[in-house]
């Protein structure tokens, strides 16, 4: 390391690794992991999100989980929360649908309306 620019590079990468502890998160993905969600495959859904995000090196996306969401007929249910935009809730998710949501919604910024079960708060 010889310059401030070198340091900046290391810093950006390190901040990336620490993004869970705050910092700049553009989109937060909240997977419903209640008993029925898990029974319907929520863990697979979450895993696929984590993998897709890692593969695409999406540094400003965060995956987290919550309990029962009261939408048990549509499990697994996932919220996408973006700063300054209404929340989008996707239902009946599968790993394949996750891949599509990642490409369309997260990368290209277009809601996948076929899977949407609710919007807003």
């Amino acid at each position: 390391m010889k310059t401030l620019a070198d340091l900046k590079k290391i810093r950006e990468k390190a901040q990336e690794e620490m993004k869970l502890r705050g910092g700049n998160v553009r989109i937060k993905i909240v997977v419903g992991m209640g008993t029925s969600g898990i029974a319907m495959g929520a863990r697979e859904v979450m895993k696929t999100f984590l993998e897709e995000i890692a593969n695409r090196n999406l540094t400003d996306v965060l995956v987290t989980q919550t309990g029962e969401k009261g939408l048990s007929s549509m499990e697994p249910v996932v919220d996408l929360i973006e700063e300054g935009k209404p929340k989008v809730t996707y239902g009946n998710m599968t790993p394949d649908k996750v891949k599509k949501v990642v490409v369309e919604h997260i990368v290209n910024g277009r809601t996948v309306s076929d899977y949407v079960v609710a919007t807003g708060n």
Partner: protein, 619 residues
């Protein structure tokens, strides 16, 4: 890029480690392995998070959930409920007396009035990862200073910030730096003082353990400002983790090219090493510390010459406290004006305190200078435990003084505290409730200083021992009229005549308790009574005959068989033989035994008779 979705920060500060946090960490590793979740969850061992009373504590991101008093048995539930199902475990969250639950660390009242500068990363980053330090802006200040500022500019920033020494003296940091800067010499040194000898203090230890790179970076900025290319960390051997972490930080910085030759492409070259101290209080005194590094006995020597003129191996040297150095990188990152905007006219920035004693939230805190003692003790510290009343607060450890209820609204500021007979000190704060005997407290600190006096100068070696003898006399019921005045006379003499700060400040606890609690000394001497029943010679045990059921348990448990009686007559303590062990009170099933202030009249009479005989023999 990782698949991690949870950062689990486990506090591994000294308080939480002794409460078992390392076992909890192991348990998490096991459970996560079992459940095949190890690649989704980061387990990070951090430095002290502060609220030691709630230990072991942990924070779970991204939500920032705060768990307290976690045990290894809770781990499985945390993993199943929180990590898998996303349902935080409410019973491990902090609740206040009104049953409000605090979900996240940010909401916890303990943190509300705190401002973390030196402690900013402590409990938030992995202290063994240089990258995490860099992520928080680490080494940016050093790079900026080395590439855009002259040493004089650097000193000017510190001057503007108003930074003063956090090691106890409160000496303006820039003045020391300027003196060493102006002294031409082929070699200069910077020393980081991590001796931390005050009983109950763990500020510097926590900083060294929790954020070692910050201290290293601060030291390098200081070295550049004064023109030094070598530094020493003087850390006591009782702090093995602090030593290990600083050594690791030095290794990592060297490997990354942040230390060594031509740092950031500048002319600045720097190397540092750790020296361990054997744990003598006096070795925190800068001259004694310097001699200790040189390999000589850690004794103070007269000043002048000051270290800035003739320090380590006779070369100009600055000695700065760990916390002082810990503030430096942030001052350059956020600006001198930002730093100076906190605090009072003469005391800028923040101060780290180790809160201990009879309060709810014991632990490590950092608050803006100028905060009142009331806010520090009742808001940050959470107030007194067990519904007891606040009586006094001791600031500055064995060199400091006691303040009372009437000072609760005093601002924490170097000058204000000094005027009241206490001092900022290095940050040890002992809060006491009304069950503490102030004479006994003064004796405790005096005992410490007598032990720690290096013995080189006679005022400290002999004077302090004289004072201790008088205090022992007073607390054992043999105090005489004039003892208080004698303590004051001796205290003033020792303060004036001692060679170093140890002797100069050691009388402070006695003098300040006489100033504010003189009536307690007088009750001990005249009435032979300790109102708090702490001094055993000045209290006695008594059995209430109306309550006693004659079960004989006390008599059977008495080690000196001084309790006799029968079911009909009830039981009586023979005061002359009683050794005040308290067994009788502990075992009594009906609480008939109580502690009564004051020497028992029989004991007083016996002692007077003995004294008469002794005098007679003298004649």
């Amino acid at each position: 890029m990782s698949l991690k979705r949870i950062d689990l920060l486990i506090c591994c500060g000294s308080g939480c480690v002794s409460a078992g946090s390392l076992k909890i960490k192991e348990r998490f590793h096991e459970v996560l392995q079992e459940k095949n979740l190890a690649n989704e969850i980061n387990i990070i061992e951090t430095g002290c998070m502060g609220p030691c009373d709630y230990g072991p504590v942990m924070v779970i991101y991204p939500e920032g959930t705060f768990y307290k008093k976690v045990s290894p048995d809770d781990v499985e539930e945390i993993v199943n409920e929180h990590f898998i199902k996303g349902r935080p475990v409410a019973r491990l969250m902090l609740q206040d007396d009104e049953e409000n639950t605090f979900n996240t660390q940010r909401e916890v009242p303990f943190y509300q009035k705190q401002v973390k500068v030196a402690l900013a990363n402590c409990g938030y980053i992995d202290p063994e990862s240089m990258d995490e330090y860099i992520a928080t802006g680490g080494y940016e200040a050093l790079g900026t200073v080395l590439t855009t500022m002259t040493p004089q500019d650097t000193i000017d920033v510190i001057k503007k910030s108003g930074l003063r020494g956090r090691g106890g003296g409160g000496f303006p940091t820039h003045i020391k730096w300027q003196m060493v800067h102006d002294n031409k010499s082929d070699e200069k040194y910077v020393i980081c003082n991590g001796d931390e000898g005050d009983p109950g203090a763990f500020m510097d230890r926590s900083l060294l353990e929790g954020d070692p790179h910050r201290i290293l970076e601060g030291m390098m900025i200081a070295a550049y400002a004064i023109g030094a290319s070598n530094g020493f960390f003087y850390i006591r051997a009782e702090y093995p983790l602090a030593i290990k972490r600083i050594k690791l930080a030095i290794e990592q910085a060297k490997e990354a090219g942040l230390m060594g030759k031509n740092v950031f492409g500048s002319n600045f070259c720097f190397d540092a090493e750790v020296r361990t101290g054997a744990g003598a209080f006096v070795c925190g005194e800068e001259m004694a510390l310097i001699h200790s590094i040189e390999g000589s006995r850690g004794n103070p020597t007269p000043k002048p010459p000051y270290p800035a003129v003739q320090g380590l191996w006779g070369k100009p040297t600055i000695v700065n406290n760990v916390e002082t150095i810990g503030n430096i990188p942030t001052i350059f990152l956020k600006g001198a004006d930002w730093f100076a905007s906190m605090g009072t006219e003469t005391s800028k920035g923040t101060k780290v305190f180790a809160l201990t004693g009879d309060i709810k939230n014991t632990g490590l805190v950092e608050v803006p200078m100028g905060i009142t003692l009331r806010e520090l003790i009742f808001d940050v510290g959470g107030g007194m435990t067990g519904g007891h009343k606040f009586k006094a607060v001791q600031l500055g450890g064995p060199s400091g003084g006691c303040l009372t209820v009437e000072h609760l609204d005093v601002a924490v500021d170097y000058e204000t505290l000094k005027e009241r007979g206490a001092m900022m000190g290095s940050g040890g704060v002992i809060v006491m409730n009304d069950k503490n005997c102030m004479v006994n407290i003064a004796k405790f600190f005096m005992d410490f200083c007598v032990d720690e006096s290096c013995g080189k100068c006679s005022p400290c070696r002999i004077g302090l021992k004289q004072m201790l003898d008088i205090l022992e006399r007073i607390t054992s019921g043999k105090g005489k009229e004039g003892d208080v005045e004698e303590l004051q006379r001796l205290g003033e003499a020792v303060s004036k005549l001692s060679l170093c700060g140890l002797g100069q400040s050691a009388p402070n606890p006695v003098l300040s308790t006489i100033r504010y609690f003189r009536e307690e000394y007088e009750a001990h001497i005249r009435d032979k009574s300790c109102a708090t029943k702490v001094c055993l010679d000045l209290m006695h045990f008594d059995i209430d005959k109306d309550r006693c059921i004659g079960c004989s348990l006390c008599a059977r448990k008495c080690p000196v068989t001084c309790i006799t009686g029968s079911r009909e007559d009830k039981y009586t303590i023979h005061q002359l033989d009683c050794v005040k062990c308290g067994n009788c009170q502990d075992v009594c099933p009906v609480k008939a035994v109580s502690r009564i202030p004051g020497m028992h009249p029989e004991v007083t009479a016996k002692r007077e008779a003995e004294a008469k005989i002794a005098n007679h023999h003298d004649d």
